[in-house]
């Protein structure tokens, strides 16, 4: 840092695709314009794994970034290990008012009672759909309050071959006709499964505060899981593994060959490049009661930061209405700032999806996944097992048992907040 006039810049570690990183650069520029003299350096990782490797190495090496952006599902391991600076005192002495933010997001980043990070967004799952396709095939669009059966019915009706005829994707295995359009895209992951289980009255883990095992063996959870698997195994409305490998769901949707896609707000940025058809979002289907799953990233300050005051000032800005608006402009986030989330910055009717309100409506029903320090391992493990279940059709009992047996040691090693 020789020759630099001011203090060292605040180092902000984030990851994302090139477009997302662009948004952070805009945020930083705005901040530096607004506060002359402040300097922030963006450290770009390309994906979560990159970010983890960088963060861990730099902490171990004693030169951590000052601020990093982290999903609440993964911040547990850092929180548990005292790497993240508690912010309560700073919040108390600043203009930032916790009440301005959606509490569900704020709560997700409390560790042993202390506020460790400040959530930048409060997203949840929704069903994106290709309205043009629905119109073409005369299938009713999904609407609030629809059930799982509605979803399956709609997806089945939307799975079509090249001539536009309804087709069952399972028959297509290795046969002459492949679906040209699939009814639904959904990832076989815990985070997709969770809201379905919850909605059906089940639980993902035995104890949301101090989980010791996955609790998918309850009848409610079993049913939700079975229904998820049946999407592929019984109805063939979701693309096969080879098809996913060939073209992932997001680009399948982009290319107009996926009727519905269950994903978070994150996809919006990408979908706004769509010109060939009209699309919108619908809320998640419901089993018994509507429940959403929280998707939230937060700015965290490292305890090892040498530049905490400046880092805090940047965090304040990023969390402020101004800062949130800038990130919201990318379309990829649901701002955690209540006011901003209700402003045109988020709900702009000129920008698709028209029905962004779906995300706001979901917030009251949103639940967070447990924060365990070993959660990343558990997610990776369960992803593999679930993927096989969906695409290979493993026996449901085996799947549940395998998930349980293999994840137990991970829970045992985990630390909780």
């Amino acid at each position: 840092g020789s020759g630099a006039s001011g203090p060292d810049p605040v180092k902000l570690l984030v990851f994302g695709a090139p477009e997302e990183l662009g948004a952070y650069r805009t945020l930083i520029e705005a901040y530096q314009d607004a506060r002359p003299g402040e300097r922030v350096q963006l450290i770009e990782a390309s994906d979560r794994k990159d970010l983890l490797a960088r963060l861990a190495t730099s902490v171990a090496g004693g030169a951590p970034p000052d601020v990093f952006l982290m999903n609440y599902r993964f911040y547990g391991q850092f929180a548990a290990k005292g790497v993240v600076e508690p912010l309560d005192q700073r919040i108390a002495g600043s203009t930032l008012d916790p009440a301005d933010y959606h509490p569900v997001a704020m709560d997700a980043f409390k560790w042993e009672g202390a506020q460790l990070c400040l959530p930048q967004n409060v997203s949840s799952l929704a069903v994106y759909y290709n309205r043009t396709l629905f119109t073409r095939y005369g299938v009713p669009e999904p609407k609030a309050g629809w059930t799982w059966n509605d979803l399956v019915g709609t997806a089945t009706a939307m799975t079509r071959d090249a001539r536009g005829l309804v087709i069952k994707g399972t028959e297509a295995e290795g046969a002459a006709r492949l679906p040209a359009v699939h009814g639904l895209g959904v990832e076989p992951s815990i985070i997709r499964l969770a809201p379905l289980v919850w909605s059906n009255g089940g639980e993902i883990v035995d104890d949301p505060v101090k989980p010791t095992r996955l609790a998918l063996d309850s009848p409610a959870a079993r049913e939700a899981l079975k229904n998820l698997i049946d999407l592929r195994q019984a109805y063939g409305v979701v693309p096969s593994d080879a098809e996913v490998e060939a073209e992932d769901d997001e680009s399948r949707f982009l290319n107009g060959r996926l009727a519905m896609l269950m994903t978070s707000r994150r996809a919006t940025t990408n979908f706004r490049t769509i010109t060939g058809f009209e699309w919108d979002v619908a809320p998640m289907p419901v089993y018994r009661q509507p429940v959403g799953v929280l998707h939230s990233d937060a700015y965290c300050m490292t305890t090892g930061s040498k530049n905490k005051d400046a880092a805090w000032r940047f965090m304040e800005y990023a969390m402020s209405a101004d800062g949130q608006r800038i990130i919201a402009a990318t379309g990829r986030t649901v701002p955690s700032h209540i006011e901003v989330s209700r402003s045109p910055a988020f709900l702009d009717p000129d920008q698709p999806p028209r029905n962004s309100q779906v995300f706001l409506d979901a917030i009251p029903t949103v639940r967070a996944l447990p924060t365990v320090s070993t959660w990343p391992e558990i997610e990776d493990l369960s992803y593999g097992i679930l993927e096989n279940a969906i695409h290979r059709g493993d026996r449901l009992d085996d799947v549940i048992r395998e998930l349980d047996v293999k994840s137990r040691p991970m829970f045992a090693r985990g630390e909780h907040g």
Partner: protein
């Protein structure tokens, strides 16, 4: 003259490696100071199903890919060691994949392996109907099927045997020509010549390359597994030791545990090395003049 290298070797290789290996006996998450746990990590590894899978994958890779790589390189070296029209170009072509940056190479294959749109399967489907090959079978799903994914990674590694090829080419060209003429005079068949002359004469070089490849095989699985398959298809079809170490160390922050895996990996390499060394020694006897 040795000084810069020694500084690098000790400062950037041996010392860091030693630190990491020492951490194998601690519990260390990179975030808090390490705590001594003795052999706990090593005993835990023994029971770790993922580690066992990774170990098995690595061994299978080494056992299949290393000889294949050497054989392919040998075949190409024997094919291309003498002049003929096109041979020079073919030699350069053989080196092409080695010249592509690893990450680009990995992603190139990701595209080549694409089960529906990838050029490989499109090629396999040529002449067939309804997405089948000429033989009426479905083309391999590559990265979604464990066996074909492993085969795919081996295939990828086969294409980057440029270094081995160069060394073997040089070795073959260094073999005395008169010995081959002698064999021609005796009317030895091509197979006889290969079995009785070429193979034994190149055995030391082949063994050396096998040693090097065996050492390196633990490393050159990393990028393909990291970039192309991400250790999958599920559960851990292409999780090799190198990827296992990276994941446990940097994604799950169990650095001490990963270090223990590294230790095991290096011990295995040493063992393999010793075995091969004995083989080489047996051959070396023949060549002392």
């Amino acid at each position: 003259m040795l000084a810069p290298y020694l500084v690098g070797l000790v400062g950037l290789m041996l010392l860091p490696a030693l630190v990491t290996l020492a951490l194998a006996f601690t519990e260390y998450d990179l975030l808090r100071p390490p705590t001594w746990v003795g052999l706990d990590n090593l005993t835990a590894l023994v029971d770790d199903p993922i580690f066992r899978v990774a170990l098995l994958n690595s061994l299978v890779f080494a056992v299949v890919a290393v000889p294949l790589r050497v054989l392919v390189a040998l075949g190409l070296a024997l094919l291309l060691h003498r002049r003929a029209p096109g041979v020079g170009t073919a030699r350069t072509a053989t080196l092409l994949p080695t010249a592509v940056p690893e990450i680009a190479y990995g992603l190139l294959w990701l595209w080549l392996f694409n089960p529906l749109y990838g050029p490989i399967n499109q090629l396999l489907r040529l002449g067939g109907e309804h997405g089948l090959t000429v033989l009426g079978r479905t083309p391999p799903p590559w990265l979604t099927d464990p066996t074909s994914a492993r085969a795919g990674i081996i295939l990828m590694s086969l294409f980057t045997m440029g270094e081995t090829f160069v060394v073997l080419l040089a070795a073959r060209r260094a073999l005395p020509r008169d010995v081959y003429e002698m064999a021609a005079l005796e009317d030895a068949t091509g197979w006889d010549v290969f079995r009785r002359i070429t193979l034994p004469l190149m055995a030391p070089v082949l063994a050396l390359l096998a040693v090097r490849d065996a050492i390196a095989s633990l490393h050159f699985t990393f990028v393909p597994a990291f970039v192309v398959t991400d250790g999958g298809p599920p559960p851990y079809a292409t999780t090799y030791l190198s990827l296992f170490v990276y994941q446990t160390g940097f994604e799950y922050l169990r650095y001490g545990y990963a270090a223990a895996a590294t230790l095991v990996m290096m011990l295995l390499t040493v063992a393999a090395l010793l075995v091969q060394w004995r083989l080489i020694r047996r051959y070396r006897r023949f060549y002392q003049v």
